[in-house]
Amino acid sequence: MKDMEALPEDEGNFVDMCLKKYKKDVKGFNPDSYGLK
């Protein structure tokens, strides 16, 4: 619960944070597959 509470409230901030992290960490993750930059 603490981990979830610590996440950003705003969707834009959350997505920016995740794109930065998972583009680097997850092999094969392509944001363009989802219409994201």
């Binding site: 981990d3 979830m4 969707e11």
Partner: protein, 381 residues
């Protein structure tokens, strides 16, 4: 009933047609023998049926003809659901432009000409989800299922609904089988400790916010059987849902087998490979078992005992696992309310709100049967 062809029968269209003819025919044949009045057959595509869209189409057409024959001969009311395989592996292909994507859309076109309902188990966000699950990274699970999964579903389901309208077919629903079910199966039974059961339950609540997208795009149900998030979907939308529990032990184990039947509209077995059993072939045996369960559920309603039946089903499993707890109808209703109340804020905020509600429900419940077993220390292997 969901028949699956035996390995080897997929080598040619001819052998696969013959396999489905026998498997589906046996299930249909058993219904008038034991006096069950209705049957839904789901042809859940193996890879070859979607990779070659005409294969799936021909098998759907054959199944429709078989059902017509049984209607004419015995008055059996049967319907067919075709579940298109999601051939895409998000880490390997572009989800919107790959050849696999085109084959899937073509399969929807072919099958919706003959099937009554079409469904899919879409896989959007699975690459991020798999990474996050192994690290118990709830933010990554929210991103994979609750955001990327929703974007993929919105893109896919607007097209599926348009195809179904063109061919006068029912756009059924989706399931987070590839992610939330992965978490649930890895969490396993009461002695398994590879993935925490609570993480799996949170993934399920996030999956409800994701699977909802199909209905927002125009799907009308019945929802896909392996969507254990379906009680939450039903609380939010009122659409009819298919669920699976004890009769799907032929395909996998779960800890909510009776409970998940409490709010079902269609009762399913997930998948059974076509083989011989002492009682007949698997498809006829499992169709009969499902039919007797449905007769019991319907009798409970006719006798005015529906609330008692519901309570028996729920209470047999509700404290067995955190997963069971959160899909119990009252809790499903609360989680659904949290998701709906936050829908205007976006896919991520509503998924997070659903997961927070699920977490608060689990934290507030001291009667979980799993707790004592989970207190045992982890041992190195």
């Amino acid at each position: 009933v969901v028949p699956h062809p035996r390995p080897g029968s997929e080598k040619t269209l001819k052998t696969l047609l013959r396999e489905y003819e026998k498997a589906n025919g046996d299930a249909l044949e058993r219904m008038p023998i034991v006096g069950h009045p209705t049957l839904v057959i789901e042809n859940e595509h193996i890879y070859q049926m979607t990779h070659n869209p005409e294969w799936g189409g021909e098998i759907a057409a054959q199944t429709a003809r078989q059902m017509d024959d049984y209607l004419a001969k015995y008055g059996l009311i049967a319907s067919q659901q075709a579940t298109i395989a999601d051939l895409r592996r998000p880490e390997n292909v572009h989800m919107r432009t790959s050849d696999y994507t085109m084959e899937m859309l073509e399969s929807f076109k072919e099958c919706s000409k003959h099937a009554d309902v079409v469904c899919i188990e879409s896989t959007g966000g699975k690459e991020v989800f798999d990474y996050a699950l192994l690290r118990q990274d709830i933010g990554g699970i929210l991103f994979g299922i609750g955001y990327l999964g929703c974007l993929d579903m919105e893109w896919m389901w607007n097209q599926i609904v348009a195809i179904c309208k063109e061919n006068k077919c029912i756009a059924g629903g989706d399931t987070n089988c590839s992610e939330a079910n992965t978490a649930m199966f890895m969490a396993g039974g009461m002695t398994s400790k590879d993935v925490p059961h609570v993480i799996a339950a949170l993934a399920r609540s996030i999956a409800a916010a994701r699977t909802l997208v199909a209905y927002e795009c125009g799907a009308t149900g019945p929802g896909k059987d392996c969507a254990y998030e379906n009680p939450i979907i039903k609380a939010m939308t009122g659409v009819p849902i298919t669920t699976e529990g004890k009769v799907s032990a032929c395909a996998h184990s779960d800890l909510a087998s009776n409970l998940i039947a409490a709010v079902c509209d269609i009762w399913s077995n997930e998948a059974v490979e076509y083989h011989d059993m002492f009682g007949a072939t698997t498809t006829s045996v499992f169709a009969e078992i499902l039919g007797y369960d449905c007769a019991m559920f319907n009798s409970a309603i006719e006798l005015g005992y529906q609330k008692e039946m519901k309570e028996i089903l729920i209470n047999s499993d509700i404290f067995r696992d955190s997963h069971s707890l959160i899909v119990a109808p009252d809790n499903a209703w609360e989680i659904g309310n949290a998701i709906v109340a936050n829908t205007a804020k976006g896919y991520y905020p509503r998924a997070r709100a659903g997961a927070m509600k699920a977490g608060s429900i689990i934290l507030a419940e001291p009667r979980m049967k799993l707790t004592a077993l989970r207190k045992k220390p982890y041992r190195r292997r």
